[in-house]
């Protein structure tokens, strides 16, 4: 069943056309890898989904309903969540503060003074969230800046989960991680899938993409150049699609033309 459907998305910045009519479908609980060379338009495409950019032409449907006219906040309310590469974490704050940043649960003191952050509830729910992800953090009350990259990724994902998302877009979640931590993050993605949450995974690390996705969409020069079923493809095919044509000759030609942007 289709959760998100993009059709004919076009987007230019001034004279530069970045997206030339992209079609993309994501099913409920499906993990889709989005790959492509630098400048292929991956980030722009994701930002038209979250609403930061407005598509020039085309249609975006979420759960069968057009969301083109909605602003980022409204789209988030519908269940579209994005985790940026920098994770947007407050590094000196602890886990719960980050997970609930901007939406802290409050209580009243002595039944009259309102607006007091309910630390106990926050800590409890944060711990619950981490447990739900099957992850381990060294301590809940420590500044997340002292955590490893993978642990920070866990916090960022846990934060996204509190919005009860139906679709999580992750931008290069494994790029900055030590090798031994990558597996943990891939496990988290599988965990999301098992909870029925769809994931769009943007990554340069094709091994990771092949390991965790259901489908792989290759973006090239602003078009969806290929839509591959992960189980029926391999590294060579994906690379070939990214560089265009098959083999090194085409890749060289691609390099010769330079990137699109």
């Amino acid at each position: 069943m289709t959760l998100l459907r993009l059709s004919g998305i076009r987007k230019s910045f001034g004279a530069v056309q970045v997206l030339h009519g992209v079609d993309l479908d994501v099913g409920r609980g499906e993990v889709v890898g989005l790959v492509g060379d630098n400048g292929a338009g991956k980030s722009t495409l994701m930002k038209t989904i979250t609403g930061i950019h407005r598509a020039d032409a085309g249609e975006i449907e979420f759960e069968g309903r057009s969301i083109l006219d909605l602003d980022p906040g409204q789209r988030r309310a519908l269940g579209i969540e994005m985790i940026y590469q920098d994770l947007s974490l407050a590094r000196q704050q602890d886990v719960a503060s980050n997970i609930f940043l901007g939406r802290e649960p409050t209580k009243k003191w002595f039944g009259i003074i309102p607006g007091i952050v309910d630390r106990a509830a926050m800590d409890r729910q944060a711990a619950e969230m981490i447990r739900r992800l099957g992850a381990h953090l060294p301590a809940m009350n420590r500044a997340v800046g002292s955590f490893s990259g993978g642990q920070q990724q866990t916090v960022a994902i846990a934060r996204a989960l509190t919005f009860d998302p139906k679709l999580v877009i992750m931008d290069e979640p494994t790029a900055a991680l030590a090798v031994r931590e990558v597996q943990g993050v891939l496990d988290l993605i599988r965990r999301l899938k098992s909870e029925g949450i769809a994931v769009i995974l943007i990554s340069h690390r094709l091994n990771d993409v092949l390991a965790v996705t259901d489908r792989i969409v290759v973006l090239r020069h602003g078009r969806a150049a290929a839509d591959l079923e992960t189980a029926r493809t391999d590294m060579n095919e994906v690379v070939a699609c990214i560089v265009g044509g098959s083999g090194a000759q085409a890749a060289a030609a691609h390099e010769g033309r330079g990137a699109a942007t």
């Binding site: 947007s88 704050q93 503060s97 940043l101 952050v117 953090l137 301590a139 009350n141 500044a143």
Partner: protein
């Protein structure tokens, strides 16, 4: 959750506990107590209730400015105009009550509103004109001081109404009013910074503006509120000092912004934002207060006092950085 913890030593555990519950670093409290013990050993006059009140009284104006500094700095900002705005506010309050003869309550209001207005100007310039806070508040430092001298004609405005004097000189239950107001302000400010959404967002903005924006916090509006709050607190400090000496002194609060920032930093506020607590700042201010009081009792020249405070500042930040590095490594 404790089962997930490694087994850290008592010291580390104690620290985490203190960070968690009271938002202070244990070292600073130990330094304060150690300093008090040293002073008590060196001077027979140190340990008395009246001297204890003396220290609090001497810390009251600086302490309130340090509260303001903590709010602004932990949000990644800076307010260099605190001392000047304090001076301007006192002059404004004295001017309206003495020269214009308005009732004392309006005099109090004039002090706080003058400060808040200066803070609002700071906030608008920082968030809308996008002039760096250092520059804006440095400019305000000069403007406010100059305005104070202009309004007062360069001399102290003497002779406040008795109700106002009570705020500076009254002693309910033997405790000086400035101390009462200072402590009450500190308690409220601590709760706001440590326990409310406003406070959590303040720290988050100083920690990572991007994260705060991504979380939907209205960062610019929040900053404007903080600068206004900072100005209003400087106005409160100006009012207290004015009432204490029964006059608006245009030179009041000279260089206080640096002392206030020092207190905040000694108390564990991160100069670059993201971390700070009022309780910590109060300990920082008291460390400086005890140091000054003790050295005064020992009749040590003021030059050495300045050296001592400078050394404490560097030491405090060093210990802080050391702890953070250790924590990050673990």
């Amino acid at each position: 959750m404790s089962s997930e913890l490694a087994r850290p030593g008592l010291w580390t555990r104690a620290q985490r506990g203190s960070v968690e519950r009271l938002h202070i670093r244990l070292e600073s409290l130990l330094v304060l107590l150690a300093l008090a013990a040293v002073m008590a050993a060196l001077s027979p006059y140190f340990l008395s209730f009246s001297n204890f009140l003396n220290i609090l009284l001497a810390t009251s104006t600086i302490g309130i400015l340090a509260i303001a500094a903590t709010f602004v700095i932990s949000a990644g900002g800076l307010d260099l105009s605190l001392g000047s705005v304090m001076g301007l506010s006192g002059v404004a309050g004295a001017f309206v009550t003495v020269n214009l003869g308005v009732p004392w309550g309006l005099g109090v209001l004039a002090c706080i509103l003058t400060g808040a207005l200066a803070g609002t100007v700071n906030g608008q310039l920082v968030t809308r004109a996008l002039v760096p806070a250092f520059i804006v508040t440095l400019g305000m430092l000069g403007i406010a001081r100059g305005l104070a001298l202009v309004i007062s004609g360069g001399r102290v405005i003497y002779g406040l109404p008795p109700e106002l004097l009570y705020l500076g000189q009254g002693r309910p239950f033997g405790i000086p009013m400035p101390v009462v107001i200072f402590v009450a302000t500190a308690i409220v400010a601590h709760c706001v910074l440590a326990y409310t959404r406003f406070g959590r967002h303040t720290l988050a903005i100083g920690d990572s503006e991007g994260a705060a924006r991504a979380a939907g916090i209205r960062v610019d509006r929040h900053r404007r509120v903080l600068y206004t709050l900072s100005g209003a607190l400087a106005g409160l400090a100006g009012m207290l000092f004015m009432a204490r000496i029964n006059s608006g002194d245009p030179t009041a609060g000279l260089n206080y912004e640096l002392t206030a920032i020092t207190a905040a930093i000694i108390g564990g506020t991160n100069l670059f934002g993201g971390r700070g607590s009022i309780l910590g700042t109060m300990i920082g201010a008291l460390i400086m207060g005890v140091l000054q009081n003790g050295l005064n009792l020992l009749a040590v020249q003021s030059y050495y006092q300045q050296m001592a405070i400078g050394a404490v500042l560097i030491l405090a930040v060093f210990i802080d950085q050391y702890q953070i590095r250790k924590e990050t490594r673990s």
